[in-house]
Symmetry: C2
Subunit: 539 residues, 2 copies
């Protein structure tokens, strides 16, 4: 599925033809009706239209870096530098359509071949006081891979794409060691030869890397069953300016704080992750995806809570709110939307919320009891077809976003999580903030990750783009939503997208001044000159 | 069950009559036979026989502390100070029998009433440069609550026993907030009034506190089902010299590193935990304890691995090795040991290893499939009687140790964990190290905690005490075992007993120089003058 992806980024998920990915006519009609306007906005600027300053990499540093990584592995062309100039947040994408807004372009791209070379690259960068942006799949949606300079005159992107090996598989302990630059599909392909899977399938799956998952505390679509990425990590190897750092001897330990959980989520600011040891599981022999309709959001999330608290969650558990469900139905006319609505009404479902459940292998043991609970609470089974439809389109979001961007739409997602008792309040406040900030946008929401004590909320926002101030338009909305979330610690500022630059202003509200001081102290200890990913994570 | 416990420590778990807890005659005979000698060793020294220096608490500090916590809450008598002079490691207990070896006695004991008072006590201690040893149940077996002075002239014990309230229960989110000084039985009693349980049952249950569980990354007997304590913690409140620190907004987050996992396991060196928000579960309506016999240790641990990797673990899963099983059988003659052995031999079990399984409530869903797996692999069911017997005696270990100490036995435990593929090597190396160091001691071992990727090993060692050098005798054995465990990172230096003073020399082997530097930096940031638990955790 990934063979068609050109992994260099050019301001879109699908660089070779973002504008050409047509939405279905029915979807277009529905969107026009809801958004009120749909007209081509500014197109993607070609590289040649973007002003790129010449590389400021000092000659001595270039020579030393070339000595470490070899000829041809230090890239300085505008095109290669532009291809690693930021991630895939809405702001990143919009900047490629309005290049006058300014794109932070690195001075060079360095491609080390192994962990030792990564370590030696850092040593060179310390010596020359060069900032280093670790770069995996480039799928950050929070500015995590922007070539921010901070106090550095020169910054380079450390592209880990050559660290793409499966280092080892321990089938007894079910632990695999993967190099950090390995993309998720490659990891799954190679693990499958040993009969194993990681089971980590975020929407960024096609592009994202193992190191990126660890650096950002990624959560995947099947995390209710397979766990968040941090739950899978048994060990880590990092390069830091202070030397190599290896963590993770045992599955669990009381040898002081769990420093793996300090390295995981450090977003390249405390070290460059070069290898990750992960728990793997046997490839499931069966899978089943199915859907249910539940009457209303509150009843729906109470049911998901019930499943979570009884240990009956499906590996994939995803509940859409009324508006997201309506859009799903409208956009997949194949199901016979009107008929379905009539059927649901007969079954007592006036405001359908769609629940997708996906079961892999042994998790099917829980299915019977889960389905019994759902039916007892009035959920109506929709069978496997809508489940399989979701599965087919599970990675479509970023492509649809590209298409919508080309059509002048402001479209972005944001996510949070909180305890169950706060969920409805958080839902209401975040929606209200987005609506106030953007006029009357479309706001969809789903729960994609449920826990015994709480759940995530994932919002999708669509509105007509303000072509006069596309960046300010979203920045204001995002700030309003983030402030509402962070206010009185109602929810986390990010459940699975990380901090980067875009959430950094809200971090202190979540971890406190003491927490910020603790992180800054670790940073100072392992990266005394501050070369690692300047401007990210820490406020 | 805890009403009989005097919570002040006097060199034994059962202070009011350690020497009087008789072992059964059969057990005594068996021990004499195996250990070769059993004679009263040095008795517990009465407080009056222990040289205690006068309190060095400055008058100005005393006045300020009294102002914070109130009259009568700053204790300076020798008896009160002695009662909080260390924990319950073998070395702690032996020092009470050989007081010339030296006992670190604090200058005072301070009893704050709430989190605010804890914060203000720290402020006073910073002003006077007084070391602070946070003290919960006092059950540390690694020197974690010893009144080590470090560079401080004066050190006080901050006894959290008055922070014993259930602060709140959120039944929807299933989160309870407990004050840190609450003892486990009190926590369970109060939670049970709301229909909930924590399910955290370490052997220290009767004395240990919620804050202590968090500070030491405790794991309980039912952790295979309920999770380790760090898995239960959703939030924390700490007092630090830099101010209050609150962590934990959502069940999961990608807002940078998980700093909860930095505070958990910090052993009082980064802050004093004052409140812990924990995930609770409904009180189970049923429970079932049962036992199986498996032929040989390797087959036994392969079976536990199989259960762990298929998601079929019982809440309590505990596999004894051949020697521990033999001692269990010998010590519980009620089962009809000889007959049982004959029965097992007929069933093909030549070298029985005892597997205890305990199921609570909904975990019984997994039982049928687990038992099918066990039988298919040749395990022989022993029914519920031995399971219930284990349950009755689950807290007996420390009492038996007291009795054995009085009989001149050197008896201690140590524990580690590693990945499955390393388990047999770790088992062999640790046993060999203990045997080499102690002549030919009894060494028992069990797996008490199993994970998909590995398991813990818990060793019990018994030998005749060297009355001429009881401390050196054990220190050498412990060093030999710890060095074998830490060598090439074969296992963790502690799976659930923490670091304290006794494991501190081996921490760097596990977390690396970079890890130590990171911890030291956090310490410096939150506790710049180093008043918090001097000499613990950090090498």
């Amino acid at each position: 599925m990934t063979d068609s992806i050109d992994h260099r980024l050019r301001g879109a998920w699908t660089p070779e033809g973002a504008d050409a990915v047509a939405l279905a006519p029915a979807a277009l009609r529905w969107l026009v009706q809801r958004i009120g306007r749909l007209a081509p906005g500014a197109p993607l600027a070609p590289d040649s239209a973007i002003a790129v300053a010449p590389s400021g990499l000092p000659a001595a540093a270039l020579a030393q870096l070339t000595e470490v990584v070899g000829a041809g592995q230090v890239l300085r062309s505008s095109e290669e530098r532009l291809a690693r100039s930021g991630g895939l947040s809405y702001l990143d994408l919009v900047r490629r359509r309005y290049p006058a807004a300014g794109i932070a372009v690195p001075d060079a791209v360095v491609l080390p071949a192994d962990p030792d070379q990564v370590q030696r690259v850092l040593d060179v960068c310390v010596a020359h006081d060069i900032g280093v942006v670790p770069f995996g799949g480039g799928t950050s949606v929070v500015g995590g891979v922007s070539a921010v300079r901070g106090d550095k005159d020169c910054v380079l992107v450390l592209d880990l794409e050559r660290l793409n090996r499966l280092v080892s598989v321990d089938p007894v302990s079910r632990i695999a060691v993967l190099q950090a630059g390995m993309r998720a599909p490659d990891a799954e392909r190679q693990l499958s030869l040993h009969g194993f899977t990681l089971g980590h399938v975020p929407q960024s799956f096609e592009r994202a890397t193992i190191g990126g998952f660890a650096a950002t505390r990624s959560a995947g679509q099947a995390s209710s069953g397979y766990g968040r990425f941090e739950d899978m990590v048994t060990g880590l190897r990092l390069a830091t300016p202070r030397g190599e750092w290896r963590l993770g001897v045992a599955p669990a330990s009381a040898a002081g704080p769990d420093l793996r959980q300090l390295a995981i989520g450090s977003e390249g600011t405390l070290g460059v992750i070069t290898e990750v040891a992960v728990r793997v599981r046997p490839l499931p022999e069966t899978e089943r995806f199915e859907a249910f309709a539940i009457d209303g959001w509150e009843r729906g999330n109470a049911l998901v809570r019930h499943l979570a608290q009884r240990g009956l969650l499906a590996d994939v558990t995803r509940l859409s709110d009324v508006d997201e469900t309506a859009s799903s139905l409208a956009l997949s006319a194949g199901w016979g939307t009107a008929l379905l609505r009539r059927y649901l009404a007969v079954r007592g479902i006036a405001e359908p919320c769609l629940l997708i459940l996906g079961w892999y292998g042994e998790s099917l043991r829980r299915r019977r009891e889960a389905v019994r609970s759902l039916r007892a609470a009035g959920a109506v089974g929709l069978g496997q077809a809508p489940g399989r439809a979701w599965l087919r389109h599970r990675f479509a979001g970023p492509r649809q976003r590209d298409a919508l961007l080309a059509l002048g739409v402001c479209v972005e997602t944001l996510e949070t999580a909180t305890r169950w008792a706060n969920l409805d309040a958080l839902y209401a406040k975040a929606r209200a903030a987005l609506r106030d900030a953007l006029g009357d946008p479309l706001v969809f929401c789903h729960i994609s990750h449920a826990y015994e004590t709480g759940a995530s909320l994932y919002f999708t926002v669509l509105t007509a783009r303000d072509e006069n101030d596309p960046i300010g338009q979203w920045e204001r909305a995002k700030h309003a939503a983030s402030a509402a979330i962070a206010d009185e610690s109602l929810g986390t500022i990010s459940h699975h997208h990380a901090v980067g630059t875009e959430h950094a202003p809200y971090l202190e509200a979540e971890i406190g001044a003491v927490g910020v001081a603790a992180l800054a102290a670790v940073k100072q200890a392992v990266d005394p000159t501050g070369i690692l990913n300047p401007g990210k994570l820490l406020p």
